[in-house]
Every structure is written in structure tokens, then in C-alpha cells.
């Protein structure tokens, strides 16, 4: 229960940061990506503030034996750099550049941003579902059942 509440609070704080930082303004995001046009560097400061804050706090937090409300910190993910990582990031980047929305700002904007962002979030969830289905279908069958 406490962990659920804290996750909600973390999400709320994250959302306020995205909004104050300007990430929920798609024109600003596209302006940041428009390096050949009227480049708007302000979102680099969002990144800097987030990296500085999280980087510093993370160092202090992982000194603890375990999180306050959980058994362990997450293990470091594999350090693999492969085609899948690059292709996925590239596809995501195209969608991001097209719309100015990445997942966080889209979810923050969904309840208040109008039809377009609701449609975007719906399509994003479908995209995630398609990936899940694709992964299940192409996974090697581990079942020992004949046939």
C-alpha cells in the first residue's frame, strides 16, 4: 500500500517536472530537435537538471542495503548494444520527431491535451501490444509437447 502511494507520488512529481520543464509542449520538443532551423536549446536544460539531480541522488540511494519499501535494487540490465536497441531507438526517434511526444509527456497530456494526444497514447499502447505479440510469436517454443 505504501509502495503504491509512493509510486503515485513519484509519478506526480515526474509529471510536474515534465510540465514545468516544457516537455509537454510538443512545439518546444520539435524546436529542440530542429537543429537545422530555429533551434530551441531549452530542453537540454531539462535533461541537465534531471541527470544532475537523479545522478547525485542515485549515488546516495544505492549506498543503502535496500530500498525503503522493497527487497532489493534492480540488477544492472545487460550492457548489450545490438541492432535491436539501435533499431528500436531509431523507430522511437522518428515517432518522437513526428509528434513531439515521448511516452511521459504524452501520458501527462492525455487527460487534458485533447483528442490528438489521446489518439497518440492509444496508438502507443497498441504499438507496445504489437511488440509484445510479436515477441511471443517469435520466441522459440520451449514446450516439450510433441508437434
Amino acid at each position: 500500500m505504501k509502495a503504491t502511494l509512493m509510486a503515485g507520488l513519484a509519478g506526480l512529481l515526474f509529471a510536474l517536472g515534465l510540465g514545468v520543464g516544457g516537455m509537454t509542449n510538443p512545439a518546444k520538443v520539435v524546436g529542440f530537435l530542429d537543429v537545422a532551423g530555429a533551434w530551441d536549446p531549452s530542453l537540454a536544460f531539462v535533461m541537465a537538471g534531471a541527470l544532475g539531480t537523479y545522478g547525485l541522488l542515485r549515488k546516495l540511494i544505492v549506498r543503502r542495503a535496500k530500498p525503503v519499501l522493497a527487497q532489493a535494487f534492480p540488477p544492472a540490465p545487460p550492457s548489450l548494444v545490438d541492432g535491436r536497441l539501435v533499431a528500436g531507438a531509431a523507430l522511437f526517434g522518428i515517432g518522437w520527431g513526428l509528434s513531439g511526444y515521448c511516452p511521459g509527456p504524452a501520458l501527462v497530456s492525455a487527460p487534458v491535451g485533447g483528442t490528438t494526444v489521446v489518439l497518440f497514447v492509444g496508438a502507443m499502447l497498441v504499438g507496445m501490444g504489437v511488440f509484445r505479440a510479436w515477441e511471443v510469436l517469435r520466441a522459440p517454443r520451449t514446450s516439450s509437447q510433441p508437434g
Binding site: 513519484a10 541527470l51 537523479y54 519499501l69 539501435v86 528500436g88 531507438a89 511516452p103 504499438g127
Partner: protein, 141 residues
């Protein structure tokens, strides 16, 4: 001054939100991963994931009340372009195991080479897309 101070403050707030999730829940604030996890419900995980996403939505409502200028109009409004962008973001973030928050903030802060490659890739792909839509095609609706 607002040009960089507000973005910096926003970054500090969202960094603090991510740190809060790590400190209390021992979780990485990768929005795409947290959201995608909701599509496969599990007893242990669904509640905190839903609460985090719910927190994002509540944050949106609060922002709309207190600071409505936080939300700009969409840059695309055509149904086809919107659906395509959403599908690409959803599928791409899962294939690449993360988005701006997971790779761009949490992964980079951890010093993960993998996240650096992902971040540079989605930034480059985003910049290239904006270049093509804005300066070659002259805009996409």
C-alpha cells in the same frame, strides 16, 4: 532567464521523482517500460505501475489548472500521422528497451553505454525526422 531556469527546475523535479521511485520502490523510472508492464497484469507489479501512471495523469490535471501554458497544441493533428507516430513510439520504445526517461535519464545517470547509444540514436532520428518534415516536406499535418 526563464529560457533555461524553468527547464532546469523541471529537470530537477523529474529527477527527484525518479529518485523517489528508486529510493522507496527500488524501481527505475522508465516510463515506457512501466506503462508496457500494465499490458501484462501481474499481482506483484500492476498496483505500483498503475499508481505511477495515475500520478502522471493527476500531474497533468494539476498542471492544466495551475499552469495551463505547460501544454502547447499538438504539432500534428492528422489522424494518420498521429496514429503512425504513436505506433512508432510504442513499438520502438519496447524494441529498444526504453525511452527518454529510462535511457536518457536513468540509464545515462548510471553510466550505461547502452543507454548512451540509445539516447544518441533517438535524438538523431528525431532531429532527422524534424529536418525532413519541416525543411524538406515543408510540414506534416
Amino acid at each position: 532567464m526563464n529560457m533555461f531556469l524553468l527547464p532546469l527546475l523541471g529537470g530537477v523535479l523529474l529527477g527527484a521523482g525518479a529518485a523517489l521511485l528508486l529510493l522507496f520502490n527500488g524501481r527505475i523510472a522508465g516510463i515506457s517500460g512501466i506503462t508496457a508492464g500494465l499490458l501484462t497484469p501481474s499481482k506483484a507489479d500492476t498496483a505500483w505501475r498503475a499508481a505511477f501512471v495515475g500520478g502522471l495523469a493527476v500531474g497533468g490535471v494539476l498542471l492544466a489548472l495551475v499552469r495551463p501554458e505547460s501544454f502547447g497544441p499538438p504539432v500534428i493533428s492528422g489522424i494518420g500521422a498521429t496514429l503512425a507516430a504513436g505506433l512508432l513510439v510504442g513499438f520502438g520504445t519496447r524494441l529498444g528497451s526504453g525511452c527518454t526517461s529510462g535511457h536518457g535519464v536513468c540509464g545515462l545517470a548510471r553510466g550505461a553505454r547502452r543507454s548512451l547509444v540509445a539516447t544518441l540514436t533517438f535524438m538523431a532520428a528525431g532531429a532527422l525526422t524534424v529536418f525532413v518534415t519541416r525543411h524538406v516536406l515543408g510540414g506534416v499535418s
